[in-house]
């Protein structure tokens, strides 16, 4: 009987390994396609923007008005610097709406003190149901600043309130602690000026940890010395530069980062605004906009623009990062489940047949397959089905192509924007890219599986994010 069991396990492990390896190669092969696509797209984009005089056309008085929606929850440490940076953005017609989502700290007090806020009344139409608005303020010093103080209801609720108060044709949804580069909006608005069917655009998010920040501006981009932050730099580069850019050419994106996205306000409102009962409200909205564009035969193009940059602080502790990744994966699972009708449905064009299945089988289920692979490898070693040299070879083969592709992403960054200019940064970036697969990636697999498990159990909590603030260069202590 035990011999039979051992043979059965042996067979399962052998076949399992094969499936896992084929899966890894297929996924990485697809990544290769994405990389080539992003290379073509990046070259086209760079040629298009070479010697462009943004201060003329993109700062035209005919440009659409943009309302920045910055939800703030317990952002006392960073709100002043972030907001000053927002108010100094180079865009001709700008409105900044800070939505205090029932912060328990001194966020509103800081805003009142530093920005001469005075209580005002206004008439607004609540097209999406939200929590109660407590007070509305305008700044006596900055005419374009509006602060809405409301009861806590989560980020989606705060954004919906912001949508009600916004006057702009376009709304920029962001996190209150995101640092947008001065000409970021000018660059991001391009697709809206160039096409009428665009409903949303997303820019690149970069990691601010370790960089030198002065007055809410990143004056020098540095690669963090902190391992967790460093590996996230690599992840972000990969996600934005070849992930989203690659999809631009292959049929469109369905993700726009919640930290920096520009939307046509009317499209968002007519689709029902942000959903409250999901932790992936940004992805859900984009997916809904795509879906409705097919169903209503209206505009619904989602464009990713690589050159507008927003900087965000990433977690440097395993606990906080774990919570974030777990939440992201729950959000992904939730969105895909809500819109499962799109899967392989030709009615939804490329999104249904191509993009949606990719997100299900690659993004959502990857941790499951990866975990199966790792566990079967460990079991294989335990049951002496495989020897150590084979296990090592299998492991390196499975992760090798991904590492090579990551290295190519670094090249893409280097030939396009090359923000990290010193040898030290270059070496660090490469170092983190190589180390990423030796432990970090496996831990993220665990977090994502945990997220999937929580989703299956119906958990919808966010988990807290801890901020250091930008007053001093983040991570500078480690750098020196």
């Amino acid at each position: 009987m035990s011999e039979f069991l051992a043979t059965a396990i042996n067979q399962v492990l052998i076949k399992g390994q094969f499936v896992v390896l084929v899966y890894f190669l297929a996924v990485n092969g697809w990544y290769l396609v994405l990389l080539v696509s992003s290379l073509i797209e990046m070259r086209r984009h760079m040629l298009l923007i070479a010697d462009e005089s943004r201060h003329l056309l993109l700062s035209s008085t005919l440009s659409p008005r943009i309302s920045i929606l910055a939800p703030a929850f317990n952002e006392e440490a960073t709100i002043e610097v972030s907001l000053r940076a927002l108010l100094a953005l180079q865009y001709p017609s700008l409105e900044v709406i800070v939505i205090n989502d029932g912060s328990k700290d001194r966020t509103v007090e800081v805003l009142k003190e530093r920005f001469d806020l005075v209580p005002v009344k206004t008439i607004y139409q609540q097209r999406v149901k939200t929590k109660q608005v407590r007070d509305l303020y305008r700044s006596a010093s900055y005419p374009s600043l509006v602060v809405v103080d409301k009861e806590n209801g989560g980020k989606a609720d705060a954004l919906n309130v912001g949508l009600s108060f916004a006057q702009g044709e376009l709304v920029c949804a962001m996190d209150a602690d995101t640092l947008i580069e001065p000409d970021g909006l000018q660059r991001m608005v391009r697709p809206f000026l160039y096409a009428t069917d665009v409903v949303a655009t997303g820019g690149t998010i970069r990691v601010v940890n370790g960089s030198e920040v002065k007055l809410g501006r990143v004056v020098r981009a540095r690669v963090p010395v902190n391992a967790l932050a460093g590996m996230q730099v690599v992840e972000y580069l990969r996600a934005f530069l070849f992930g989203r850019l690659g999809w631009n050419r292959l049929g469109g994106n369905i993700i726009i980062s919640g930290a920096f996205g520009l939307f046509r306000r009317e499209s968002v409102l007519s689709s029902g605004g942000y959903l409250h009962d999901t932790v992936g409200e940004d992805m859900e909205l984009v997916l809904r906009l795509r879906r409705l564009s097919y169903e209503r035969e209206g505009p619904g193009r989602i464009a990713f623009v690589p050159d507008p940059v927003a900087w965000t602080e990433v977690p440097e502790s395993m606990r906080v990062l774990g919570r974030q990744r777990d939440r992201w994966h729950r959000g992904l699972a939730d969105c895909l489940w809500r819109h499962r009708g799109m899967l392989f449905n030709p009615r939804y064009g490329v999104t249904g047949v191509f993009v949606f299945p990719y997100y299900v089988f690659v993004e959502l289920l990857a941790p499951v397959i990866e975990a199966v692979g790792l566990i079967s490898l460990a079991l294989g070693l335990a049951f002496h089905v495989v020897d150590w040299s084979f296990a090592g070879l299998f492991y390196l083969t499975a992760y090798g192509l991904g590492t090579a592709l990551t290295a190519f992403t670094l090249i893409l960054e280097d030939v396009s924007f090359h923000r990290y200019d010193s040898f030290r940064d270059r070496a660090l970036l490469f170092w983190w890219a190589m180390l990423e697969n030796l432990g970090y990636r496996q831990v993220t697999v665990y977090w994502r599986l945990r997220g999937l498990w929580k989703f299956l159990r119906g958990r919808k909590d966010w988990g807290a994010m801890e901020r250091k603030g930008f007053q001093k260069p983040v991570g500078i202590a480690e750098t020196n």
């Binding site: 005919l62 008439i123 390196l396 190519f408």
Partner: protein, 350 residues
Amino acid sequence: MVDRHFLNIVMLVEIALLVLAVAVFFAHGLWLFLNHRRVMRLTETARQSLARLVTRGTINLEDIELLRQLRHDVQVTVFLETSRNLTGSGKERLRFVAHEVLLIERARKLCESRLWTRRLRGERLLSRMDVADPIVVKLLSDENAAVRAQAAEWAAAQPSPPIIATMLTMLADPATQARFAVQDALLRMGSIVTEPLAAFLETHTGLPAESGLRVAGAIGGSRFLLAANRLSANENVGVRVAATNVLAAIGDVSSADRLATLLKDPDSGVRAAAARGLGRMQHWQSGSQLAECLRDSSWQVRREAGLALRAIGAPGALFLRRAIKGDDRFASDMAQQVLDLPEAAATAAG
């Protein structure tokens, strides 16, 4: 079991890819570093030479030769950054030097290229140096939208009647990018476009009219009255909204009468724009019509009508108070909200 030989082959391919990537990554870094140092040195020397040539007004052949020998990208960088800070005779001298160092010639050649990306670069160079070259006029009808848009941007600094005429025909450009650039360029040209634009609007409808009306709305002026009146009755909603905005921007008594009529338009966007316009003009004679709009089915129209009544002053406030006591609860609610607004907020919202 997965064949070890297969794994070895895959592994070798991966290693080769990785080594290639690493080599390219660091080699590119090294190239960037060395190139940056060289470019910085060249740029600094070039800046000094160009500054001498532009500021002194005398031609130093050595400086010209130095600039001529420069790499094209350094030439472009130096001339464009200098161009940003010059106008009038300074810019004229810069153009002369650019001509002497063959930069203009090279830009012209780029404009004639079969590749749109090169044409774009060439015209960007001519555009940012404000070079009035007929080759760019040809590019106004280029097959690529980005090239047409850039040509339109160039045209903003060359407001001659034939160019304005071409630009007006481009208001019907199928590409949004080109249309937007044309609108922006016409606006930048200033009052010189008023007459031809007004004449254009008097004879056109549809997309070109809608695009032109946006420019007219930003320019303002009673010269657009005839066209705006005509187009405010157009069947296209977008055209009617744009025409209403132009009527509001004109702020004339005759435009006010038309705006009052437009309060009954079937489209809520037009009605809201008309109410907003009347409020901006503080047209107290339209008080009763605006009060009627407080009962409108569209929230936006009710809001604009309420704010317009508030802007009118005492007569408007009277209508608002009456509406509060009226039988329509939507009108009553809006009137109450408008009256509750502090002065500054009402002005800002209006």
